[in-house]
């Protein structure tokens, strides 16, 4: 099953560009300049962590400041809320992450960082098969909403790491 679904997930994540709407209260948008001329992509820095930066892109269904073309993940991942995807950059290492707001009270619910194990298991395992907003169907080509997702009661990060695990 894994052989079939993995390319499908990667492909659809990269090409999903449809906007829908839902009643959610997103976090206040950071006021940073656009990155590479794309106003949807921002790179954030921190003076205490000069070797790191965070590149983020908002995803729908709802985002107040870049509503016009913010892509939604809910078409490929039913049950997905609004949030961010992006990379934590450290030198030549780039850690992918996906963040989903709580389905309940995003401004009050806890913040959870989810890490799958291995070492070497992608946290996308958690996102698409365990506690994420959707679960991949048996046909390997679609997904269904996961009513038991942790995002029902928490804001959740899924962080893909480490970049290389052979020396862990």
């Amino acid at each position: 099953m894994i052989k079939i679904i993995w390319p499908a997930i990667v492909g659809t994540l990269a090409t999903c560009l449809t906007l829908s709407s839902a009643a959610q209260t997103p976090l206040t948008e950071p006021t940073f300049d656009g990155f590479g001329g794309n106003p949807n992509i921002r790179t954030l820095t921190h003076e205490s962590h000069p070797d790191h930066s965070l590149t983020i892109q908002a995803h729908g269904p709802k985002n107040p400041t870049i509503k016009s073309d913010a892509p939604s993940l809910s078409d490929i991942c039913p049950g997905a809320t609004s949030g961010y995807t992006g990379y934590l950059n450290h030198g030549d290492k780039h850690f992918y992450f996906a963040y989903f707001e709580s389905r309940s009270k995003p401004a009050e619910d806890p913040l959870v960082l989810w890490l799958n194990g291995g070492p070497g298991c992608s946290s996308m395992t958690g996102l698409f098969m365990e506690l994420g907003p959707c679960t991949v169907n048996e046909d390997g080509e679609s997904a269904r909403e996961n009513p038991n997702s942790w995002i029902s009661a928490a804001n959740v990060f899924f962080l893909d790491q480490p970049v290389r695990y052979s020396n862990v």
Partner: protein, 78 residues
């Protein structure tokens, strides 16, 4: 299931999931659990700076399997 991911990544010489590195000579010498925890710590600092509203929310790190090794270290840095 995890074995399958490991095989894929070893064959392609890339990272985990959608994460990647651009240095082809990188063989993991800079990696390791502690280095990962510093990255996770920086990740949260960057996030909190960008989204100060979220600082007031209770924060937890959760994981499974080796996530049990990865999760406690970032908290020891803070």
């Amino acid at each position: 299931m995890c074995e399958y991911f490991v095989k894929i990544n070893l064959l392609k010489q890339i990272g985990v999931g959608f994460s990647y590195h651009t240095n082809r000579s990188f063989h993991g010498g800079e990696g390791g659990t502690f280095a990962a925890s510093e990255d996770i710590y920086a990740f949260m600092r960057l996030w909190y700076k960008a989204f100060p509203d979220s600082r007031s929310l209770p924060f937890s790190i959760a994981g499974e399997s080796y996530g049990g090794q990865l999760s406690p270290l970032p908290s020891s840095l803070s």
